[in-house]
């Protein structure tokens, strides 16, 4: 079960001709796919396209009624390989993932499908996770489009443009027999807006029909001599066809006056920010009535030589606003103006930053620099704002991401930290997933991370004699590729590393989607395939499963044994406990219902006694739970803040375990709060508390007698 239910969003997918869709960008894409008569959809979840996957997963009945096949693919490579269905058949297909990491994973299949070309429209929807808030390496999908020759659409960020881009993307793909990538930046995926819907279309041919009448064409298979023919076909046939389609259908757009001394060329996805920058400089208005000519590239690859030449002709200089590096578009524009023998100067990264988000503010500054040189007559307002004074700024702390309240992964790292005190520091190869937060404070554990599911592979070079390296892997990464690339490789190469597989029951970091080893029942897929069985099946001999990570003693014992066992070969510890976020989502309504029905409910939470806490905060350094915080010391004599558990505590128990295992402090307590106690329980406990109360009253009297 995913993090949230998408029942309401599924309703949006059913809208018909003329109705207004209001919702998020990525959902608009989802609707656009159905309006385009897509026959099959696949993909791999990850920010910012998870919602597309989740909505489709919840829309089984609708998809079945339309004859659309949907699959939550095992990895991006799986998803990309699905596009094979469009090679021989006029099937429209779409796959989606987070880029650039997903594109990296998919690249083998992408190269193949791009080489052989497609018959049906093939659309690759990439959620470009670049800039603020990104959790991945800052690279451009553009490079992939160029090297494999796939067209890259980067639409203006408003819902009608994005929906249009999906529909045109399929047509472009079919017109040029080339897969098309649709790039959506993070903010566009999460952006709300409206567009007028059309009816959903049943695919002209369904995947069933295609499978029933197989077509075989060896010229589409990447093997000599066909692969050499593909290369020629790409250049001589598909490229011109693509360019012709983009030009004839005017996929790119022009704003502002036709003529001018200078002009601007911008990636479609950046258009809104550029317009805001121009508006603030007095060069445009809220409706895009620019005072300078703007050429908006909704298709950023390929560039259209005629359009570029026509735009640049007569202009002294053109500023290209292109996010990320290398500046492929700027390079290409230089080539194109040279070939057209124009003297227009192409200006780009020399006035704009080479790296980072192109926010409206950044673009406004670049624009000022550009215009100061090329159109100095323009008098532009100064947009600079005095920065917050340094002494104030210094008070504002960083807020790195961290494990959620009650997260079962936290005790795994607490154990590693405590074990480090016994065994000394160890090389830790981290993985992608929530568990990667271990590299941040307070745990500060992890030396490298090499990619999803690659924790164990990342440790494979380490073959020390007496000190084993530890690799961490999530269950999501494990099923994505870790089983083979990590465990299989370690078994085969007789690696001596320790692998901790964090088995929390979901692909938690991407929104809690089910995976093979999920313990929940799933109507549409099969679950409950234990990780331990999988690793044993692939030849791992030393495997321990700890089925409650919060039990620090067992967790530490398993890790200690893995680190010190004389047995050779990979040591695998499967650390199991359910993702707390998902668990709470399920449990909370259940408990609330039981409470209101008058049933006996026990709630547990932790607390800290402020009068025995001395404010050393070791507990926080070993836990980092958001609900374990500090507050001003209520003691008039003490100054350091005391630890404090707030009401978001879910009573996971780690605080108590930590104070035991690390011999910390007696300040922690666990409170169990019984609502609607049974009759006998109520009576007995009332009697007990009367007895205790009487003794306490007596003690208080005696204390008062000798008090100040």
């Amino acid at each position: 079960m995913a993090e949230r239910s998408f029942a309401a969003e599924v309703e949006l997918l059913k809208l018909g001709e003329g109705e207004t869709f209001t919702g998020e960008g990525i959902l608009a894409v989802t609707k656009a796919l159905l309006q385009s008569g897509v026959a099959y959809v696949g993909g791999y979840q990850g920010s910012p396209i998870s919602h597309l996957m989740d909505v489709f997963a919840d829309a089984n009945d609708l998809l079945a009624s339309l004859g659309v096949h949907f699959e939550a693919s095992a990895s991006e490579a799986t998803a990309a390989a699905m596009l094979a269905a469009s090679v021989n058949y006029p099937l429209r297909g779409a796959v989606a993932w987070k880029s650039v990491v997903g594109t990296n994973v998919a690249s083998d299949a992408l190269s193949n499908v791009a080489s052989g070309g497609v018959t049906g429209g093939a659309l690759v929807i990439v959620g470009e996770d670049y800039g603020e808030g990104s959790s991945i390496m800052q690279e451009r999908t553009h490079a992939f489009a160029m090297k494999s020759q796939m067209w890259l659409i980067d639409p203006r960020p408003n819902l009608p443009s994005i929906v249009d881009a999906v529909e045109q993307g399929f047509r472009l793909s079919e017109a040029s027999n080339t897969p098309v990538m649709l790039e959506l930046r993070v903010r566009s995926c999460h952006m709300t807006g409206s567009f007028v819907a059309k009816d959903n279309l049943r695919p002209a041919m369904t995947v069933d029909e295609a499978a029933a009448a197989p077509v075989r064409d060896t010229s589409r298979i990447v093997l000599p001599p066909a692969n050499f023919l593909h290369e020629v076909e790409k250049v001589e046939k598909r490229w011109p066809a693509g360019i012709a389609f983009v030009r004839e259908n005017r996929l790119n757009e022009w704003f502002g006056p036709d003529e001018g001394e200078v002009g601007l060329i911008v990636q479609g996805g950046l258009f809104n920010s550029l317009n805001r920058a121009m508006e603030l400089l007095g060069l445009s208005d809220a409706f895009g009535a620019a005072r300078l000519p703007v050429y908006c590239l909704n298709v950023t690859y390929p560039l259209i030589p005629d359009e570029v030449a026509a735009f640049c002709r007569g202009k002294r200089a053109v500023l290209v606003l292109e996010e990320g590096q290398p500046e492929f578009i700027e390079h290409e524009l230089n080539t194109l103006v040279r070939r057209a023998d124009l003297q227009t100067r192409i200006v780009g990264k020399e006035v704009l930053p080479r790296a980072g988000d192109y926010t409206a503010h950044v673009m406004a500054q670049g624009l000022r620099t550009f215009l100061a040189e090329w159109q100095p007559a323009l008098d532009l307002p100064d947009l600079s704002i005095a920065p917050l004074p340094a002494p104030v700024a210094a008070q504002i702390p960083q807020r790195p991401a961290g494990f959620c309240t009650g997260c079962p992964e936290r005790p795994v790292f607490t154990s590693m930290k405590l074990l480090e005190r016994e065994l000394g520091p160890t090389h830790v190869s981290a993985d992608i997933g929530c568990h990667l937060f271990s590299i941040l404070p307070p745990f500060n554990i992890g030396n490298t991370t090499m990619g999803y599911g690659l924790g164990t592979a990342g440790a494979s070079a380490f073959k020390p004699k007496d000190k084993r390296a530890i690799a961490v892997m999530g269950d999501g990464g494990f099923w994505h590729n870790g089983l083979t690339s990590g465990i299989g490789n370690a078994v085969f190469n007789k690696d001596d590393t320790v692998t901790v597989i964090v088995d929390n029951g979901y692909s938690a970091a991407t929104g809690g989607q089910d995976i093979l080893s999920s313990r929940a029942d799933n109507r549409a897929r099969t679950t409950r395939h234990p990780i331990e069985r999988a690793v044993r099946g692939i030849g791992a001999g030393w495997v321990r499963t700890v089925d409650r990570t919060y039990d620090l003693k067992r967790m530490m014992a398993a890790l200690r044994e893995a680190m010190t066992s004389p047995e050779r070969g990979p040591k695998i510890v499967v650390a199991q406990s359910e993702c707390m976020l998902n668990r709470q989502r399920r449990e909370k309504p259940r408990v609330r219902k039981a409470m209101s029905e008058g049933k006996r409910v026990v709630r547990e939470r932790f607390g800290v006694d402020p009068d025995t806490c001395t404010g050393d905060h070791s507990c926080i350094r070993l836990s980092g739970c958001p609900s374990l915080s500090i507050k001003p010391n209520p003691d008039p004599l003490r100054r350091d803040p005391v630890a404090h558990v707030d009401n978001s505590c879910v009573g996971c128990g780690l605080c108590g375990e930590v104070s035991h295992a690390a011999v910390l402090c007696p300040s922690f307590y666990r409170a169990s709060i019984v609502a609607n106690p049974g009759r006998w329980e109520g009576r007995w406990k009332a009697l007990r508390s009367r007895l205790i109360g009487a003794l306490q009253k007596r003690d208080a009297r005696l204390r008062a007698a000798r008090a100040f």
């Binding site: 808030g133 917050l388 790195p400 008039p636 406990k685």
Partner: protein
């Protein structure tokens, strides 16, 4: 020429700065609902990703009056172009200023004044908190209007969520051209926790009309004597100690009478007077010593912990803190880890020392004290046990720990007395170095070790080089990391 932008600018930009899990997305949705309901165009966007998990998150909403043409809306707040900022926490209010989202000419800044501490602030070994006052001062200058109040308290009062309080404050600020009913309707339409969200909305709405308010601070009333013994000691404090030390000494005496008895409090005053006699105005060392000496003399031993844990006031505090309702039963379980060492320290000095100094006996006994214990204080058995332990108080003076602590305290006081006349600053530093000694078990051992290492290093230096600054630096290094490496490096360099 700038006016060209302004003239067609018929929109409102709203940035929401929240922490993952605070419902910033819900708030953004509500705002858009209200606006669309009034025929405005609304666009919202955000960058969730990993920031969703407890990190800082920015949501951005733009509202524009609908007309014939569709305006081009921005996807992120641009410095100098944001009309309203709503921040769910004080440092996020600060971050809005750091990123220049809030500007004096345009922005209505609505920020909570409560704190959710960041991990670096929480995990420091002493006090690593950022200064909230500085943020509030800056907010008054860097916004057209600053609305600040404790949104967490308002959330608690209304039994609501902070996003509802933020929504109320936004409605109450009057910065949006929509009536109160429109905001409330959006809450009703969402159909989730309507009653409590409306209460939260109301709290926020009213707070937005009030002046800027910081969270309630703890008020420490000066203790007043209630017994004859108390009055006698009160008289001694006023008569024998300089005024700057009075307040801390009153707290100190109150603490030590509670901790042990009037005689122990008198010993405290004797010790304090001895130092005061060597000190001079402004009596800084004496005033600080009144605090630190009371803390050290009320060191946390097994007896003290058992006493504090079994009091009625503590039971009530727990009930209160866990928000136990009427008729609900609260059970309290402690996580105690008495090691052999702590047990021996409670025994009479001779016996305790004998056990600890006999390797065979202590290793045999140690096996019983390796495990942490779950002590259910609310059960009769454990309550009586704790009460029995607390009743050992009169025997404390004979315990091993008492002997050890008094020796260390005398040693420390001796250092202070020797240095106070020549170098009051150094004496003050020595007084304050007591803050290194705190906690239990490993934490206590580490603190004491650092304290002693610093003292030894200080007095190993030639008298002319025993400087207060060096001592302060050493204490800061001791609190810099719990591996002790920073201090080791410093001492090695010295």
């Amino acid at each position: 020429m700038a006016a060209a932008g302004e003239a067609t600018r018929d929109r409102i930009g709203i940035a929401i700065l929240a922490l993952g899990g605070q419902g910033g997305g819900v708030l953004a949705d509500w705002i858009q609902e209200v606006a669309r309901h009034h025929g405005w165009l609304a666009q919202g966007t955000s960058v969730p990703g990993v920031a969703q998990r407890t990190g800082s998150t920015v949501y951005y909403v733009e509202l524009a009056r609908a007309g014939d043409r569709l305006p081009i809306l921005a996807q992120m707040p641009t410095p100098g172009d944001v009309d309203i900022v709503v921040a769910s926490e004080l440092m996020e209010t600060g971050r809005a200023m750091l990123r220049n989202f809030s500007t004096a000419d345009r922005t209505t800044l609505i920020g909570s004044t409560h704190r959710i501490y960041a991990i670096a602030e929480k995990s420091g070994m002493g006090d690593s908190r950022g200064s909230g006052e500085r943020i509030v001062e800056a907010a008054a200058r860097r916004a057209k209007r600053f609305i600040g109040f404790d949104m967490e308290a308002a959330t608690d009062r209304s039994g609501s969520v902070i996003s509802a309080v933020m929504f109320g404050a936004l409605g109450g600020s009057g910065a949006l051209p929509f009536p109160r009913e429109a905001f409330e309707q959006a809450i009703r339409d969402s159909g989730i926790a309507v009653a409590s969200n409306l209460r939260g909305f109301d709290e926020g709405f009213r707070a937005a009309q009030a002046p800027v308010a910081m969270p309630d601070a703890i008020d420490h009333a000066v203790p007043q004597p209630t017994t004859d013994a108390g009055r006698a000691l009160h008289g001694r404090i006023l008569g024998e100690l300089p005024a700057p030390a009075h307040e801390a000494a009153l707290h100190g005496v109150q603490r030590l009478m509670d901790y042990q008895d009037a005689g122990y409090a008198a010993l405290y005053l004797d010790r304090l007077r001895a130092v005061a006699g060597l000190d001079a105005a402004p009596w800084e060392a004496t005033a600080e010593l009144a605090r630190h000496l009371a803390l050290w003399m009320s060191y946390e031993d097994t007896i003290r912990v058992a006493d504090l844990k079994s009091r009625a006031t503590r039971f009530e505090r727990v009930r209160d803190e866990v928000k136990a309702g009427e008729g609900q039963i609260v059970g309290i379980t402690e996580f105690m880890h008495p090691r052999l060492r702590e047990v021996c320290e409670t025994l009479p000095a001779g016996i305790g020392r004998f056990i600890l100094e006999s390797p065979r006996l202590s290793s045999w006994l140690d096996r019983f004290f390796r495990e942490g214990r779950h002590v259910e204080t609310t059960s009769l058995r454990w309550f009586l046990m704790l009460r029995l332990l607390a009743a050992l108080r009169p025997l404390r003076r004979r315990s091993l720990r008492y002997a050890e602590e008094q020796e260390r305290i005398e040693h420390w006081l001796g250092d202070i007395r020797t240095s106070i006349a020549q170098d009051p600053a150094l004496a003050l530093g020595l007084v304050r170095s007591q803050r290194l000694i705190k906690g239990y078990g490993d934490t206590f051992d580490r603190g004491l070790r650092n304290f002693q290492a610093i003292r030894a290093a200080l007095f190993a230096r030639p008298p002319a080089e025993r400087r207060a600054q060096w001592l302060d630096d050493a204490c800061a290094q001791a609190l810099a990391d719990d591996s002790g490496r920073a201090l080791e490096d410093m001492l090695a360099a010295a």
